[in-house]
């Protein structure tokens, strides 16, 4: 390292701490660690978000498709300070966020309602299959699940 005194602020030295600092900068909007090329780390952060958007679109094709060409940018905005929990949960968290603000596109409603009816997801750990019957709705779509069979029974336009 050079110019140790050129920049204020704490500077960790162990590999473990320095790796943690870098991951935080890339996934949570924390400052770029001392000595790194800020422009390049920012480019890596953007590439990472673009890659995540593509990965989330696989388990959540309707969520992605409903956003059309804005998908990558929308997802990146939402995910910029949220480290990944895996593509399934990332898409689920985003869909719930949008639904809570009544902004989930109607075309993505059935996808979320079907997942909510079939799986129990506490927002903190891996989703688990529901044993009991459930009815869940999202963006005007209602899904019913009985003994593992899920059916969308009502699909209406959001008022």
């Amino acid at each position: 390292m050079k110019d140790h005194d050129a920049q204020p602020g704490s500077r960790v030295t162990g590999l473990r701490e320095r790796q943690a600092e870098l991951v935080e900068a890339l996934t949570s909007g924390a400052p770029v660690p001392y000595g790194f090329d800020g422009r390049r780390v920012a480019a890596a952060r953007v590439a990472l978000l673009r890659k995540r958007a593509g990965e989330v679109a696989r388990p959540w094709p309707m969520l992605a498709a409903a956003h059309g060409p804005r998908w990558t940018a929308e997802f990146a905005r939402w995910a910029a300070r949220r480290p990944t929990q895996g593509a399934l949960r990332d898409g689920w968290d985003l869909a719930r966020d949008l639904e809570s603000r009544s902004e989930l596109p109607a075309a993505a409603g059935a996808e979320l309602a079907i997942r909510e009816a079939g799986w129990r997801y506490d927002g903190r750990s891996a989703p688990r299959i529901r044993r009991a019957p459930a009815i869940r709705s999202a963006a005007g779509c209602v899904a019913i699940q009985i003994a593992g069979w899920v059916r969308v029974v009502r699909s209406v336009r959001r008022p």
Binding site: G14, L15, Q19, A20, A44
Partner: protein, 273 residues
Amino acid sequence: MTAHEYGVGIGWRPEIAGFVAGLPGLRFTEVVAESVPPHGDLPSGLAELRDRGVAVVPHGVRLSLGGADPVEPARVRHLAEVAARLDAPLVSEHIAFVRAAGVEAGHLLPLPRSREAVDAVVANVRRTQDALDVPIALEPIAALFDWPDDELDEGAFLTEILDRTGALLLLDVANVYANACNRGSDPSALFDRVPLDRIAYVHVAGGSEHDGLYHDTHTDPVPRRVLDLLAELCARHRPPAVMLERDGDYPPAADLRDELDAIAKASGYPAVS
């Protein structure tokens, strides 16, 4: 994988499983290890490839061999189980870290080229080797940035890791190209600095340039200059196997076939398409 030649292959992905299964001359493929369950049904089409004698190499992406912490035993066990299920001649992973302090980066991140990092990788590779019945090949990654305090150049860093672990090398010529582009150095210079006879196989992939940086995307066509670099590598020491990695935005089958043919031509191996 070093004992005999496998020629040209392609990374198996569910989206192109039909295309891969339809390649008449295919003798090896690679599958993302984490996408293969340890029990139950194999992904559709994979067992058929294995049963027809195509070598299937599990390629790990989540071990975090370069992490400061020890590799998670469950992840190592999974890799070993998948290798056994697939009758794999070897497995591969990256010289990189993917998480720290419990936070997933979502991507392969570069290590500082320091003694401390070499020690961390070597310890984790040894832990992994202890659980494996087959050799492991290590892949140097493409990175958009370097750490500020590298003590070793890339050749010395890689060679020391390979020497101390006895691991094989998975050389990705697109990564070599990307790093050289982004550092402003000569891509083929690395060929003088790493043991080419330790290469188990080679990756070839596409990428694109944004704002003056070359991104190794795996979703773009393979640039001519990457194929030229492959040809130069093969002229010096031809590795036993060379494969195309494509991870999304899949083009029509004819385009994939053309890329495989171009790889065959650059390496001098017979076309598999």
